[in-house]
């Protein structure tokens, strides 16, 4: 696989660490809704198809990337710097 880090450019899979499913939102820290926490920590959509996920460019700039990738073909549909895209989403 080749992941196009928005900062570093396209890089080999070996430089990246998969950081998991990006479909989950962490409940509010004060929330005591156990089922929400359980869903956040343990449940996965495990999509067969385009999957939102985090990768860290751990052997590079170390930024986390928000990636959409097909779990059927491994084709990468989009990549963004996670911190930026998270902040953008929060701003919306």
């Amino acid at each position: 696989m080749l992941i196009a880090c928005p900062y570093c450019g396209p890089r080999d899979l070996s430089e990246f660490t998969y950081q998991g499913d990006a479909n989950r939102t962490r409940p509010h820290p004060m929330s005591n809704d156990q089922s929400a926490w359980n869903a956040y920590v343990y449940d996965r959509v495990n999509t067969a198809g385009d999957h939102r996920e985090f990768w860290q460019h751990s052997g590079g700039c170390r930024a986390h990337l928000a990636v959409v990738r097909s779990t059927l073909t491994h084709e990468i549909k989009s990549v963004a710097i996670a911190r930026e895209s998270m902040n953008r989403e929060a701003a919306k």
Partner: protein
Amino acid sequence: MALYLRWPAGVIYTVAQSQRFIRAGTRMAEYSFLSLLRNALSGNEDWKPAWRKPDPRPSYDVIVIGGGGHGLSTAYYLAKEHGITNVAVLEKGYLGSGNIGRNTTIVRSNYLLPDNIRFYEHSMKLWENLSHDLNYNVMFSQRGVLNLAHSPAQMDEHARRGNAMRHEGGDAVLLGRGEVARMVPGLDMSATARFPVLGGLLQPRAGTARHDAVAWGYARGADRRGVDILENCEVTGFLREGERVVGVTTTRGEIRAKKVAVAVAGSTGRVMKLAGIDDLPIESHVLQAFVSESLKPLINQVVTFGGGHLYVSQSDKGGLVFGGDLDGYNTYAQRGNLPLVEEVMSELLAMFPNLARVRLLRSWGGVMDMSMDGSPIITPGPLPGMFLNCGWCYGGFKATPASGWCFAHTIARGEAHPLNAAFTLDRFARGILIDEKGQGATPKWH
């Protein structure tokens, strides 16, 4: 090697015994040395299919989705242990096309946590008699599984595990450096090794089995007890009456059933979505495996590396069969990527520097149902009329007999057997985790 000293008397005894037993058996198509000989003389023209290829019936008592090891053994034990024979196993491809047909064949019960030890120890006992039970040689070879230790702390961890097994009645031996060196020639035993070998934990009764034979043997066994095995029959949806699951739609038509059991390993996410269950504590990851060209006997046990994640054994055909870590990302593609191939080879050679001139023959991948604590799920539900078996991670091949045995019990009785009582879906919410590796909800690390 004491076995060989006894061999002449032993074998005569053996052949006589087995023939007597087989003659006493009821069915015609029994496999034995004599039937082999008889057929050889008549040009092998009379062999019958190992299992029928029936058309689906409109309904069954139980439908088992997934013609892998677990689905097939479930059907077999439903018939054998519970007398439920109006059963169909639905397989989307050819039988055994999933992980049962692509694993590194290691069978062991050297677990740390009591729930796992008991379950896998039960499996081990079933393995020890499986070829007889199925009248199919699954080539279970109890050649021993040796986990190497490379630091005093790792020796202690192995001791903890070995002791845990021994306290549950299992077999485990802690070997010192010298014993390991004698047992496994070729290992890098030099003091300058990056991860010097200090010793290892041996489970003598553990070993390997011929993976395909397990699928075929269970299929034949189930078929002979009346189970319909439906290949090229992909489940495409579930029939529901309210909440209740009452059957499935397939590429070979609609099939109804009183109970529908799901045992589709790496496809769990996809199949359960068909039933409207979108979220499960499961991720699908690819695990690659490798086989070298065929060699004369070189490695006589299953050996695992403690300085990384690697296991290797030699198949009876002579290929070194080995694997390492997951590629480490969600995928449903049965193929991996190159960096992991290189990682696995580095680990193998760190352990066996003599193997650099051996050549890789083939590599492949399987899609694993990784659970959030690394332990399986065998449970009624999550919908009425449905039963779920998944979460096998790297380790479901060895579980094949016990998984089917427990799942059959669960399906027949509607509730878990004590052996699988801990393998629930709600254990995560309740915090009763069975986390063998202590890695938490990060499936790629289990």
